[in-house]
Symmetry: C2
């Protein structure tokens, strides 16, 4: 069966957001929140622009999605994000009671690897990783290579 | 030596913020960020008012403090917060590179107890707990008792 709205479709939307971050000189991470096959929130990392280390794509997307739905919880929503969520964003997703998280690249920095992330997410939140992993990872690598020049 | 600006002094400021939350029907948690013995940010839990599970006192205080200082990092700052930070707020404090966290009541909910919080904070962040613990805890208990009625 043709499924136009599969995980790759929504991850591409998150990647579009990551590209917007890239073009602003921000670490290129993007996210969308999907509810009933519809994107209800889009966001990208804005930590430099907003001078705010908490302005991760996921945090903004959660706030925007809750605002859209008019309720605090995102129990029927899926987050698509180009990089595995950090501790802060995992902790935030716990409070939203998010149904599912689909991430692109795995965060392989030693500190991130050392932490048992599963324990930080809500037990009801399903986690699916490595969707369009190479595209998500490549964008980050290009960004950091350019920054080192 | 008389020290007018000790931990209790600043925790009282955080408790004032928690009381503001209480009066709005919010779970009463308050926080202040201190830089060179001066309160540069004050905030209280606003998750209900803002319909946003990420609107914890600490998150708002970090954003406000960074805005005040004009830099993203809070390396010379101390956070005073009436309840031990949750996973999200611990993760946010990591990104701020906060110098020190002083909290009031310990978060004794089973999930919070099960997580090794120390691992989530920045290794350079000093953690000091149980300052004015009874006052901080009493306010929370009164709130939840009233809500159960």
């Amino acid at each position: 069966m043709i499924q136009p709205f599969d995980d790759n479709y929504f991850m591409k939307q998150a990647l579009n957001e990551a590209n917007l971050a890239f073009n602003k000189g921000e670490i290129p991470i993007g996210a969308v929140v999907v509810h009933e096959f519809r994107v209800i929130a889009r966001a990208h990392n804005l930590t430099e622009t907003l001078n705010d280390v908490t302005a991760h794509a996921e945090m903004q997307a959660f706030t925007a999605a809750a605002d859209f739905l008019g309720g605090k919880y995102l129990k029927e929503c899926t987050l698509y994000v180009t990089l595995e969520p950090c501790v802060m964003c995992a902790g935030a997703s716990y409070w939203t009671q998010l149904k599912k998280i689909v991430f692109g690249a795995k965060d392989e920095r030693p500190r991130q690897e050392a932490i048992n992330k599963r324990q930080l997410f809500h037990p009801k939140t399903e986690i699916l990783g490595n969707i369009m992993e190479d595209d998500c990872k490549d964008l980050l690598q290009i960004f950091f290579e350019e920054r080192r020049k």
